[in-house]
Amino acid sequence: MTSRRGLLRGGLGVATLGLGGCATWADPPQTQALAAAWPAGVPPRVELREVPFVPQTPLHCGPASLAMALGHVGIAVDADELGRQVFLPARGGTLQLELLAGARRQGALATRVPGRLAALVQELAAGHAVVVFLNLGLALNPVWHYAVLVGHDRDGREFVLRSGPVERDLFRWRTFELTWARGGHWAVVVLPPGRLPVSASEDEAVLAAVGFERAAPPAAARRAYEAVLARWPGSLTARLGLGNTQHAAGNLPGAAQAFEQAARQHDSAAAWNNLARVRAALGEAEAAREAARRAVARATLAEPQWLAPARATLAAVGG
């Protein structure tokens, strides 16, 4: 075995001499960038050994990867059960959107993180395992695969992944980048509500929370919005979500407070509309009419998509 591999390497060595000037042999851009500028505050070596290993059964790398990521944040779940929730038999695999939805159904948010190697090592340094989507093959013959990134080694220029049947699969940075790029640089961090990936953008954090609201109990969804607002106090969507989840939980005064803050902070027709409805439910008729008039005025001026619901609200509250 060793000698055959040596022979192969020898042969390839000769082949690479011919490829010497070929641009594709150079390290891919992010590998170069990571080697040139290491992100501040990230230790040279991280391995999250406590991430459980769930070896995949045939075709089930999606459920297995999700089970590992969930297990790491304390949500123990059976990979077969997850398979029923996310595996698509006719496609012989798991689609990315359904993986996100599967995390929600288990009480966790799957948030996309930026498609940069630097973001991945920052997440590892924060103790977050990252579910990545790779094309292990070539563009012409794709081999789509989910795996869980659990470690990195700056000096060895390697990543450690839980992948398929292998508990510690070592990927060179360049190989990882090439396969990851062919998978669309897709990476998500799976966390319980209240926690956020360190590298996620506001848009992605909001998207994850809104998706979570669909599948989660209102109290859990509220914690997700609170976490977004703690980092991005100016998020209108999260502020509206805070009100909607409190309304769903039957906390009308809390909902009114959130909607009022959203309305005053953003002069949003949607927020005025919801404030009017909640004030009416609280029996504050005059304040409800005032909010409904603000909703119609704002929608007329700048947010035509809310004009119809705002007028309906104004009519409903007796304006």
């Binding site: 075709l59 929730q85 496609r91 939805a101 159904r105 292990l136 789509w144 398929g164 909001v206 998706g211």
Partner: protein
């Protein structure tokens, strides 16, 4: 004609399955005239489709999506929960791309020639199909 009939029946079945698709609190929100959080996400509803109309379209889309999932082997018990966990935008995207979106699985069923090519590219470090390879650089 038969196809049309089957499609109608399937859609009817899927729609009845999905009658209670929305989470309870989302239904409450709709009944109460509140604008749902996900309605704030771009892209907003198509022009001319607002409020009840948009909601009706989204419901029909979900029924269609459930039917497609069922045709692709998802068990009936799972349909409702799988569709309900998606936002309207995600449900629409999934319906449009259910047969093209990449599905992560593993290395089964490679042709032999492809096997050899990938073995070489693995060793070169361009790909990583086989767990036993280790790239030369």
């Amino acid at each position: 004609m038969t196809t049309l009939f089957r499609r109608l029946v399937a859609t009817a079945v899927a729609t009845s399955l999905l009658a209670a698709t929305l989470p309870l609190h989302a239904q409450t929100a709709a009944d109460s005239g509140l604008i749902r959080t996900e309605q704030l996400l771009p892209p907003a509803a198509p022009q001319g489709l607002q409020g009840d109309q948009a909601r009706l379209m989204a419901t029909l889309d979900r029924a269609d999506l459930a039917q497609r999932l069922q045709e692709r082997g998802v068990s009936i018990d799972e349909l409702r929960a799988r569709v309900a966990a998606l936002t309207d935008a995600e449900a629409a995207e999934l319906m449009a791309r259910i047969d093209e979106a990449p599905a992560g699985s593993d290395v089964l069923g490679l042709l032999f020639t492809v096997f050899i090519i990938l073995l070489v590219t693995d060793i070169l470090g361009f790909t990583k199909v086989f767990p036993f390879t280790r790239s030369v650089r």
